[in-house]
Amino acid sequence: MAMDISEVEEFARKCRVEIVKMVHRAQAGHPGGSLSEIDLISALYATRLRVKPENPDWNDRDRFILSKGHASPGMYAVLAEMGFISHADLESYRVLGGVCQGHVDMKWCPGVDFSAGSLGMGLSFGMGCAVAAKLENSERRIFVMLGDGEIQEGSIWEAAMAARHHELGNLKVILDRNRIQNDDFCEAQMRMFDIPAKWKSFGWSVKEIDGHDMAEIMNGLDFLERTNDGPSILIAHTIKGAGISYMENNPSFHGAAPNDEQFHQAMIELGEVEA
């Protein structure tokens, strides 16, 4: 899909609208992390991923693993924009029997490659997919989205060490560094100090970008695509709740839905309705 930067930005804006609608409708869910990741996922799907929405199980598709699976509204919005699911399907978010389960689930939703929900698992799963691709001599790439709080899980570092040991150049991680986790700011919950240095010391190629600047995101995705001699990670500095003023950098909106008044304001801020 050949989209220019302004088109990807519009793609992401439409996804932001759907994220807020989903969470408002369900009166539950995780808007903050969905809004921080959405520019990154939009750019990845709209300009890089080799996938076929009409054939979601195509064997040689690139994989996208949303390890921070609570930020599912972001992924569902992108899958709807891409045509994996319909916009009507988005109304099933957190509804009994719906394809849009609370956390993304490969058994429920077309286009989802991993059943998420428990943090710290997606990188290991992605490593398995990367080993499989190598065994099959497939050109497919494995992209994994991690949250920053998530890398407090010890198993992330088991996977980080193993991925370099096995020289998995087809394994490409995007870290959504939004600085807020469930209870509070990351800095208060668990200081992580120099995150790029940690990944470098595990032998990964590392690049940092502004995760809301579409030109920087494109450069960052270029970096991931051209780094094939070992695993690579793009550390994207983002703002939790990005795009909705009262959610931005506000730990309260990690896992809380806007009320009707807040919803209306969000639609104004996203240009969906006039003030």
């Binding site: 064997n59 059943s115 698992m121 290991s124 398995g128 997919c129 499989a132 065994l135």
Partner: protein, 311 residues
């Protein structure tokens, strides 16, 4: 003279025999020499993935491989699989990905390493997971046969093997061994012992001793705990009227638990459970452990008499 062998050797041999299937891959967590996946690693290094001492990662690497069409066989000590229980639950069982997990050195029979190595709860915890088949074979022959059937299973499994050698029960009966089907090893009408793993041979010993005392018991190798062969359990109740379970595992939630669940809802009958009675083991030789924990053949004999008296 009865041939003696360890179930873990049956596992290692089976991996070599299914290696013709190019989708079979082996995952290790630095214990391949012990679980016996090392034979596969030696022959097929390109299809063996070392995960270092990292069981949580290993289980999910397996899940990723399975989602891509491979058939992963991951092994470590039974006790260390438990560290990755949530990975097995959320990453393997929930999406029903056919990862085959083998926990070797299970039970108190593993001996002198002591209680930290003696998994006595593995069968119980894996039995709670939807989609997961749970097995604990008693000899190398059945372990090999069951492992060779796993590539066709299409769902995840957990198999406990043992470190130490035990009497071989099945030389010449290989073709009868099927996942989910218990095996009648001895026929008797006064009571039925349903056993798994190393306790199968202890149960046979008990049955022989009881025979001399005029008590005739059936002995069943229930190598598959889930799905439980309930048809067989029902037929044993109908025929014998009293059931004894025997396992080198906690009496809570394992084979005894599975049989109790079935009996209480379907065909209540006197049941005595021989197993580790809600305690941990310690360092000791395998036979010393069985005696210390009350799960040796003479404990089974006593349980048979008690169950029979309750008829």
């Amino acid at each position: 003279m009865t041939r003696m062998a360890a179930t873990r050797d049956g596992y290692g041999q089976a991996l070599l025999e299914i290696a013709d299937n190019p989708k079979v891959v082996v995952l290790e967590a630095d214990l391949g020499k012990s679980t016996k996946s090392l034979h596969f690693r030696k022959e097929y290094p390109e299809r063996t993935v070392s995960c270092g001492i990292g069981e949580q990662n290993m289980l999910l690497v397996g899940a990723g491989l399975a989602s891509s069409g491979f058939i992963p066989f991951a092994s470590t000590f039974a006790i260390f699989t438990e560290r990755a229980f949530e990975q097995m639950r959320n990453g393997v069982a929930r999406p029903n990905l056919a990862v085959h997990l083998c926990g070797s050195h299970g039970g108190t029979h593993t001996g002198t390493d002591g209680s930290s190595a003696q998994s006595i709860e593995d069968l119980a915890i894996y039995r709670t997971l939807p989609n997961v088949v749970v097995m604990h074979p008693c000899d190398d022959v059945s372990t090999k046969q069951l492992t060779k059937q796993l590539p066709e299973l299409g769902k995840p499994s957990y198999m406990r093997t043992a470190r130490n050698k035990t009497p071989v029960m099945y030389d010449g009966r290989e073709d009868e061994i099927k996942i989910g089907k218990g095996m009648i090893l001895r026929d008797g009408a006064d009571a039925a012992i349903i056993a798994c793993g190393v306790m199968v041979s202890e149960s046979m010993k008990a049955a022989e001793s009881l025979e001399k005392q005029g008590i005739s018991v059936s002995v069943v190798d229930m190598h598959t705990l889930k799905p439980l062969d309930t048809d067989l359990v029902k037929s044993l109740v109908d025929k014998c009227g009293a059931i004894i379970t025997a396992e080198d595992h906690s009496i809570i939630g394992g084979l005894g638990g599975a049989v109790a669940e079935y009996l209480s809802s379907n065909c209540p009958a006197p049941l005595e459970r021989v197993g580790v009675n809600d305690r941990f083991g310690e360092s000791g030789q395998p036979d010393e452990m069985l005696n210390l924990l009350g799960i040796s053949s003479h404990h089974i004999e006593n349980a048979v008499k008690k169950a029979q008296s309750r008829k």
